[in-house]
């Protein structure tokens, strides 16, 4: 069992996308989740999916900065996974007896709801990026995600100068935003 300090540290690590922290969390918690999923009509694959999703929820929480653990990390993760799995079962319309809980749980409905909403946005962004095609996608990724400078980008993509690259980037950005917001506004 980890102390509160250790768990806080793990969360910080997770927020920073630190592979070691992620590995520790996996090692400490995955088997309990797997046992739970398998006991409730799932497979190891389902457990992996659910656990990954729960890690993303935890990641979002950890990044938000406002998150302090009010229970053990293990309990939080277990609760999230349990909720996610229950939802998945309902969605698949699989026969679903009262789900068996072997451990303590905390209410996590808000977290799940937030995560689902945000996850949709994530999908919108991904699909919008796919839709604008190349070289726009790579260009925008290089600038916004990889944080490359305009001269670097101009060089890499073969534009004559940084200004040209910038104009191109702007055009791409407008297209991306258009597609993204169109999806975003249509979602309801």
């Amino acid at each position: 069992m980890k102390t509160i300090e250790q768990e806080e540290l793990l969360l910080k690590g997770l927020a920073a996308n630190d592979a070691d922290a992620i590995e520790t969390i996996y090692r400490d918690n995955f088997l309990a989740i797997k046992t739970f999923i398998i006991k409730n009509n799932g497979y190891t694959d389902d457990a992996l999916d659910v656990f990954q999703e729960a890690m993303i929820v935890l990641f979002e929480k950890a990044k938000s900065g406002s998150f302090t653990l009010t229970c053990q990390l293990q309990t939080f993760l277990y609760s999230i996974c349990r909720r996610l799995w229950l939802k998945k079962l309902q969605k698949q319309n699989r026969f679903n007896p009262s789900i068996e809980t072997i451990e303590e749980i905390v209410p996590v409905d808000d977290e799940i709801e937030y995560h689902e909403k945000k996850n949709n946005d994530f999908l919108f962004m991904e699909s919008a990026l796919r839709k604008i095609g190349e070289p726009c996608k790579s260009l925008l990724e290089a600038f916004y995600l990889e944080k490359k400078s305009m001269p670097e980008i101009a060089d890499f993509f073969g534009y004559t100068n940084a200004d040209n690259a910038k104009t191109q980037k702007y055009k791409c950005l407008v297209r991306l935003k258009k597609i993204f917001f169109a999806q975003y506004k249509n979602k309801d």
Partner: protein
């Protein structure tokens, strides 16, 4: 201000790349121009989403890396996909069905020493109770002993003391000493003894066991056993009919017990086409007993009953026996001949039973 310049400004503002003067100017601009303020809000939101997506992608990448690492180390235990063991899978199924049953009625177990781990391995698990009697009470055992002493004195060869922990039924399929019973009866038994109506006991061994069909074939391996008279019953060529009257003989007690009923459905538990549903009074110990129609044809073998319903008993269709016999012929080169002449047809029930009871055996073991 042109849009591209505005975007640029917003991005620099967000990234903290503006100096104080420019920052103040920009904030002033937002405040005084609702339109610009809106663009700022929208673009900021958009950028935040973009960043979030990028971070999540990185996270997912890391998650997958860690997953793969742990899978390789065996921490997650398994090749993806088919990792769930058969036993766990069946256990799940079993649990699920239990839940259904619990929703309909509360479960009444009729068998006392029923070990769940034992039966969850068979597809007949779930709410159905195999009809083996694991409950040989102290009293019955004593009674047994006395009975045997008397018998031993009278007829049967002396047998070493044998403490059985279950009891079921079986019946001869070949006069040379081959018996049919349920797989769930004998599958975990170390020693098997069969006993006829006269109380003669013989050691028996398994020659065939199929938990899927829940059929087992035993061979009486005792030298004291002599081939019996021709079996009076046969196995039907066609499927049994709904509502057909049926009867059985079995050993829910130490003494042979007769029961009668009718065929209530042409399929078994959850539409299992390899068995019939019959309505008959069956209790632990009846497992492996023959289900016989009025013409003296064995249409099935009693295997289990639904725990939460009364009189819902399942019998394996006797056509499954043929597959079992073929298997035995192939695997062990033992040729078992099913009886061909039916001498029960046309007799009244009492006479039928009289002829029949010598061929129905008590199966015991530990």
């Amino acid at each position: 201000m042109e849009e591209n310049l505005l975007f640029d400004a917003i991005e620099r503002y967000r990234n903290g790349q503006m100096d104080e003067k420019e920052k103040l100017f920009f904030e002033e601009l937002k405040k005084n121009n609702p339109e610009i303020d809106q663009v700022v809000a929208e673009h900021s939101f958009f950028l935040a989403e973009l960043e979030r997506m990028s971070e999540q992608k990185k996270l997912r990448h890391n998650l997958n890396e860690v997953e793969n690492k742990l899978i390789n180390e065996g921490v997650i235990s398994g090749e993806k996909g088919k990792t769930k063991s058969k036993l766990i899978y069946l256990w799940n199924r079993y649990q699920r069905t239990i839940a259904v049953a619990a929703a309909i009625a509360c479960i009444v177990s009729l068998s006392t020493a029923l070990s769940i781990s034992k039966y969850s391995e068979s597809k007949k698990a779930a709410v159905i109770t195999p009809l083996v009697d694991h409950k040989l009470t102290q009293f019955e055992y004593k009674l047994n002993e006395i009975e045997h002493k008397l018998n031993d004195a009278a007829t049967a060869p002396v047998k070493p003391k044998f403490e059985a922990n279950f009891r079921a039924t079986g019946f001869l399929v070949d006069r040379k000493g081959y018996l049919i019973t349920n797989a769930h009866v004998v599958q975990n038994a170390k020693n098997l003894i069969v006993e006829n109506k006269k109380g003669e006991q013989f050691y028996a061994e398994q020659v065939y066991l199929n938990p899927a069909t829940d059929l087992a074939i035993l061979k009486i391996a005792d030298t004291s056993f002599k081939p019996v008279n021709e079996l009076p019953y046969t196995f039907p060529k066609s499927a049994a009919e709904l509502a057909e009257p049926i009867f059985t003989l079995g050993y829910p007690r130490e003494e042979v017990v007769y029961g009668e009923g009718y065929l209530s459905a042409k399929s078994g538990y959850y539409g299992d086409t390899t068995s019939y549903q019959i309505s008959i009074s069956a209790n632990p110990g009846n497992s492996g007993g023959p289900v016989i129609n009025k013409n003296g044809e064995v249409i099935g073998i009693i295997s289990s009953k639904e725990t939460n319903a009364d009189g819902v008993v399942f019998a394996i269709k006797s056509e499954n026996i043929y597959d079992a016999l073929k298997e035995v012929k192939k695997e062990k080169d033992i040729s078992i001949k099913t009886p061909t002449v039916n001498t029960l047809k046309g007799l009244d029930r009492v006479k039928q039973i009289k002829k029949l009871e010598d061929f129905v055996y008590k199966v015991k073991g530990n």
